[in-house]
């Protein structure tokens, strides 16, 4: 059965409801949603805000790879992956991933795979802005 895939990289505020609506399906028994939000601190240091930038065409291509892998391995019914770029305030969602599957165990595994892999392969960069400077996350060893 074809998996419904919805990939977005946008500047606008993300909506979990929109991702959940995409994956709703008669045959779904379990939906797992991951919402990655901006924390107020990194290793005890206060974060003012974040900036994300993406190499958009390739980010979408890499996110599609993740979605196709999930469709194949976990028999997903539908997948929605939205990533936000631009300036984000504390508590705002940077990424939302929703996966629906006939049985729930697969939905957990697939959603966790999606966020783990997104963080490794998708060309998106996060800059943390502190009161006394800024840093590109994970750039240096």
């Amino acid at each position: 059965m074809a998996c419904k895939i919805d990939i977005q990289v946008v500047e606008e505020e993300l909506s979990a409801a929109q991702c959940e609506a995409h994956v709703t399906d008669d045959g779904a028994g379990g939906t797992v949603v991951f919402i990655g939000t901006v924390r107020n601190q990194t290793q005890g240091k206060e974060v003012k805000r974040l900036e994300f930038e993406a190499y958009r065409p390739m980010a979408i291509k890499e996110m599609e790879k993740i979605a196709h892998h999930i469709a194949q391995v976990w028999d997903a019914i539908a997948i929605s992956m939205h990533h936000r770029v631009g300036v984000l305030q504390i508590q705002e969602a940077a990424v939302i991933i929703a996966v629906s599957t006939p049985h729930r165990v697969a939905a957990f595994a697939a959603c966790q795979y999606a966020i783990d892999t997104l963080k490794e392969t998708v060309p998106i960069w996060k800059k943390e802005i502190f009161s006394d400077g800024e840093i590109w996350v994970a750039a240096h060893p």
Binding site: M58, A59, K119, V122, P123, W125, K126, A139
Partner: protein, 79 residues
């Protein structure tokens, strides 16, 4: 030959520009890596630096041709 560079994240800060044309004296991604490390020593301090051509990651053996656009991909940190 001339190649186009497009840089994101900290790579853009190191080049001080998003896009530039590079007078490239080598052939492969490996050669490009060497040339960049030599011209911009800050690249050597990064955890990793990857390269993409035609929207796909390419390894060091990949051969570049005139007017190729190479995207510089420092360690990603989305999510």
């Amino acid at each position: 030959m001339n190649i186009r560079l497009v840089a994101f994240g900290i790579a853009k800060d190191i080049l001080r520009q998003r896009e530039m044309t590079l007078d490239f004296s080598g052939q492969s991604i490996f050669d490009l890596r060497q040339q960049l490390f030599s011209s911009y020593p800050e690249f050597a301090r990064l955890k990793t630096i990857s390269f993409a051509v035609h929207d796909s990651y390419q390894d060091d053996a990949f051969l570049l041709t005139e007017s190729d656009e190479v995207v510089l991909i420092p360690p990603v940190s989305g999510g």
